[in-house]
């Protein structure tokens, strides 16, 4: 039976109209406003700019005033180690949690995924970071993200390991490989699909995070969302729409491009993890 919502001209019209209005209009507003002059952008509208395109002027203003270079560097400095640490440490732990049985392992697993449900205690986190002399540092921010997203990673990776048969690992062990070698040469390569999914989700969360960044490094490190907030708050009544949206375009571009290029794999990865 052909799935519903298939071809047909009426269906095509509905899809095109819905996409154009629901997603097209907001995205068009961003693009068109980001190339308008300040005067024209005061009241953001969907019309094309009347007094010329200010693409270069707006984008270069944002890059200098919004310290885009520093923000990009800050974001990368925070995102890259966070993702590497959380995935490596979580997969090590998940291997043990998925393969061993017993009451202690169940308790540890429950503790390990508790962060999926419970919210991070953001205020006392700042106090703790001060006590550890990590407040406002890249290292502190990285460890906070690792702590916050450890549960997500453990949840996804443990679920995945349970679906792969342990024979390969046993074969490696019989061949005389130690546990560490077995993990790095046999288990870790098998985890590639779930790693891809977890990397995407965690990158997405950390790259776009502003809430935890406010508390931990706010004012002491530039990241893209923190600087967007500053650009937006700089105008007295949020009137610099041309600059805000130029920044939004620049900041969204990397992730949107990665997504559009790799969307098939990304979507199949995410869905594979959620619905068994």
């Amino acid at each position: 039976m052909a799935p519903e919502g298939g071809g047909g001209p009426l269906h095509a019209v509905v899809v095109v109209l819905l996409t154009a209005v629901v997603v097209g209009v907001p995205l068009w507003l961003v693009l068109v406003t980001s190339v308008k002059s300040q005067g024209e952008a005061l009241l953001p509208s969907l019309a094309l700019p009347r007094d010329g395109f200010h693409l270069v002027a707006n984008y270069s203003t944002v890059i200098t005033d919004g310290r885009l270079g520093a923000a990009l560097l800050g974001s990368v400095l925070v995102v890259a180690p966070s993702v590497v640490f959380v995935l490596l440490l979580a997969s090590m732990a998940s291997w043990v949690l998925a393969r061993r049985k017993g009451r202690w392992i169940s308790v540890l697993y429950a503790l390990g995924i508790s962060g999926l449900i419970l919210p991070p205690a953001v205020v006392t986190l700042v106090l703790l970071l001060r006590q550890l002399q990590l407040a406002g540092t890249v290292g502190g921010m990285v460890m906070v993200y690792v702590g916050i997203y450890m549960s997500t990673a453990i949840f996804f990776i443990t679920g995945f390991i349970r679906t792969i048969p342990p024979e390969l690992e046993e074969a490696a062990r019989v061949d005389g490989a130690g546990p560490v070698r077995t993990f790095f040469t046999v288990v870790l390569p098998l985890l590639r699909p779930v790693m891809a999914t977890a990397t995407i989700l965690i990158c997405l969360y950390i790259w776009n995070d502003v809430f935890y960044a406010f508390f931990v490094v706010g004012g002491r490190l530039d990241t893209l969302p923190l600087n967007l907030f500053q650009v937006a708050s700089a105008g007295a009544y949020l009137n610099n729409w041309h600059l805000i949206f130029a920044y939004v375009v620049l900041m969204s571009l990397p992730l949107v491009l990665v997504f559009v290029i790799a969307q098939r794999r990304i979507i199949s990865g995410i869905t594979g993890g959620a619905v068994k």
Binding site: G5, L27, L108, P120, V123, L127, F214, I244, V248
Partner: protein, 312 residues
């Protein structure tokens, strides 16, 4: 912390006791227990310890105005409850989360059903609807603030059909919470959509074929067969929508900042504002309230949804 070291120890002891004797029947564990340690040390230190601190500092007068921290009992809870903000914000947060859980799933399921067939057009539309998921929530908030201005693009669009429309979407004390809920649902509906699409793909064609031969209408097939079989996708989507929106901040901050008249002030906005004023103990109190609210709401919801999956 104590739990992880303890299990490390028992693991090692077990490994040492068993070699040789039980080898044929039961091999010693080949996953070293210390593999658990780094993950659990970081999780404990940067996630669990601050949560425990929450239960301590909510009962103190910790603030940026004093150097010493003193114990004050329940005074913070009394203060916040007395000025009414606590209860209002709590209600707003719960309404916000419930609203997002409803609309995000309605939109996501609707899109999944509309874009189910694997045509080129549908694949393009799916990509478009997923772009907001990839964008920052702060950016999405600013986009809608611009779009929903009284003289903004949405009113202009509606005006094309009605000959003039003037409504201050984000300044209406009665309905703004709903508009912000819809914006949050708009941002995340693409994720709900692909989870539902995956769920729809797992339904076997035979079952649908059989229902068609039995003369079931499209609506009957959906209501009696397809929707019940989407239970795992529904569990995932409702749980993530509920928990994600309880912890929301960026969209509300960028659209209304908690206004008008604090009608959209969810707990994280209050925490951010109070923390900025240096009232750390009060912010901690609210953080604890959020923690407890989420725990109280999440566990029964997930339990019920899971049980529903099993019954079907």
């Amino acid at each position: 912390m104590s739990t992880s070291t303890q299990s490390t120890r028992t693991g090692r002891v077990r490994g040492r006791e068993l070699p040789g004797r039980n080898r044929r029947r039961q091999q010693p564990p080949s996953q070293p227990s210390w593999f658990l340690v780094p993950a659990f040390v970081l999780l404990t230190l940067f996630f669990l310890v601050p949560s425990v601190y929450n239960f301590v500092y909510a009962f103190t007068d910790w603030s940026s105005f004093k150097s010493a921290i003193g114990f004050v009992g329940l005074r913070n809870f009394e203060n916040v409850a007395k000025n009414g903000v606590l209860l209002t914000d709590l209600r707003t947060t719960v309404l916000y989360a419930a609203g997002v859980a409803v609309f995000q799933n309605l939109f996501g399921l609707g899109l999944a059903l509309l874009l189910e067939a694997d045509t080129r057009l549908n694949r393009f539309a799916r990509t478009m609807f997923f772009i907001p998921v990839v964008m920052s929530a702060l950016a999405v908030g600013y986009i809608f603030q611009a779009l929903l201005k009284p003289e903004g693009a949405l009113n202009a669009l509606i005006g094309l059909f009605t000959g003039g429309f003037d409504y201050a979407w984000l300044a209406d004390t009665r309905w703004t919470l709903l508009w912000v809920v819809l914006i949050h649902s708009w941002k995340w509906m693409g994720l709900a959509m692909i989870i539902y699409l995956a769920g729809l793909k797992t339904i076997s064609g035979d079952v649908l074929e059989a229902s068609r031969l039995d003369g079931a209408s499209r609506w009957q097939t959906f209501r009696l067969i397809r929707f019940p079989l989407l239970a795992p996708a529904l569990t995932f989507n409702v749980a993530t929508a509920l928990l994600g929106s309880m912890n929301s901040f960026d969209i509300v901050q960028a659209t209304t900042g908690g206004g008008p008249a604090q009608k959209t002030e969810i707990l994280n906005i209050f925490i951010y504002r109070t923390f900025g004023q240096g009232l750390f103990a009060q912010a901690t109190t609210m953080s604890l309230v959020l923690f407890i609210t989420i725990a109280v709401m999440a566990f029964p919801t997930i339990y019920l949804l899971r049980r529903r999956e099993r019954v079907l």
